[in-house]
Symmetry: C2
Subunit: 362 residues, 2 copies
Amino acid sequence: MRLAQVETPALLVDRRLLDANIAALASFVQSRAPGVRLRPHAKSHKSPDIARRQVAAGAVGLCCQTVREAEALAAGGIADILLTNEITDADKAARLAALGRQARISACADHSAHVALLSWAAREAGTTLHVLVEIDAGGGRCGVPSAEAARELATAVAGSPGLRFDGLQAYNGGAQHLRSFAERQAAIANAARIAEAASDLIRQSGLPCSTVSGAGTGTFEIEMASAVYTELQCGSYVFMDADYARNQPSGESGVPAFEHALTVLATVISLPATGRAVCDAGLKAMSLDSGPPSLARHPGLTYGGASDEHSTVQIAPGTVLQLGDKLQLVPGHCDPTVAMHDWIVVHEDGVVTDLWPVARGW
Amino acid sequence: MRLAQVETPALLVDRRLLDANIAALASFVQSRAPGVRLRPHAKSHKSPDIARRQVAAGAVGLCCQTVREAEALAAGGIADILLTNEITDADKAARLAALGRQARISACADHSAHVALLSWAAREAGTTLHVLVEIDAGGGRCGVPSAEAARELATAVAGSPGLRFDGLQAYNGGAQHLRSFAERQAAIANAARIAEAASDLIRQSGLPCSTVSGAGTGTFEIEMASAVYTELQCGSYVFMDADYARNQPSGESGVPAFEHALTVLATVISLPATGRAVCDAGLKAMSLDSGPPSLARHPGLTYGGASDEHSTVQIAPGTVLQLGDKLQLVPGHCDPTVAMHDWIVVHEDGVVTDLWPVARGW
């Protein structure tokens, strides 16, 4: 089947660009910081098929944000999975602990109640759960607020049956989207200082702290060079959304410039007036939370706006567009866009080569 | 099962508030404009279960925005379905025409190519498709640009085997979200003038134009009183999202004030610092395209921001919140929020009474 025959809207992944992105990050990290592990984030793709390609390229395992994602990854053969999130629900904790029979499972905690729940679930399941204490690295979301609180919680983990203390989760999501490299550098320097102070204190109390995990597509080169982070959690680099592409690069040579491997395929369903087209991918097919999609692949077309099942497109004079023509839009934000679709349509040179399921829902 | 036991994030509908909204609009239209038909829009709920409740309350049928929704409605026993959209894909046209064996099916056209495709599909399926010519009523999306173009296309429909010309689709989506009643009134007065000029011209050419369909939750009372519109397409009133609730009402007595029947259930998963909580419903569980969700049901809590699977919440001094507590967030925009979920969890007095499937995808 050719792309022109695919019913729209549909989520497309260009297999060659995807593999090029996976290879580019893996070889960059391996050459510049061979001691730093790569643990890509599956929340971007929710796809065991893509996760296996990342592991084949050298990743030590995957991150995920939900228990549902962890289950899909384990079922897909991923042997080392970190839930970069807290859970308070007993059923979810039990589901997570059960995965410990198939894979090495880690989760995060920022409160003694998380530690107690994970310990209970691991003992019930007869498995071991590895735990990272999450520290607020400047993002203002989850995480204990101080090195002293991190040390206390690490001690609680180390003393809990069924659990193993591995280290720290120190992710600053907001830093990923600061536009200038200098701003991102300052935010991650602060995150690294916070993580280092906590890991020093934990080690002083006699516990090992072998892992400091964090980073994302917007800042990974900074964490990588920090000498504090041992593990990078980049997710969006596999697809590279329009929002990340708006960041100013560091200017350093050799840093990979990732390609837009993910697009949403849409059909031109209306040409109601000169200079205006309407296509059939709207708010239910693409997330606009980080700005509009890009029409950079279609010279002469400019994105207008979205409603539930429509996007309007402005057509420059001289550009020819016909009813039924297909457009490929690069989403502003890949992660929530992927979660709107059940299948990834994989293509090469305009031909569909695979359908990969998306582990939607919870 | 009680709501406190439901795994989160989950999409909730309060059955009593839903039925009250359905009854309130039906009785308002029936008492004020008995000649105006109600054809609620299924794009808001994607649920045959809710559609049947709307028909039971007097709706003549349903609108939908995708062929997938039309299929779900027909399978759910809805006998009269209008696709308020154009299609250019032969497979989709064939799927739509096949539904003509089960239900009265209508679709929109704003180009002779749509007319030719619908005629071909109806003849192939051996069914009849009813057609509304869509006219741009000021929304700047789909629709022919003039009364003369509408007349030409109506004539083409009337002369096409397998098709029946019914009238005009004249929807102005942007008008729904103008904040002041006066602005909305001016926008719909303009839409009604456009629709009236086109229907007059069509009738002068000897064709009947029995239907002028349009309106939404933000403006329906204006279309209803216009003496031009014969059919109202309100959708969001069943759930009433936070964005519509920001509109200033007309001030006229008796106009229904719809209740927030739809919420997203979330769990407090982290209390990392004084005054801050984090819950597990983020950008993948709620659409933020029309602004943030409301926490009005939880005095002392203010919505902070969202990431993929998290929302941060500010806690006022004196407000007590615990790990594992459940929150009900009123989405900013119901339609794309519903499309993120596979099931609607129906509840009454805190008890789950039903699970209704959502006709997601395309």
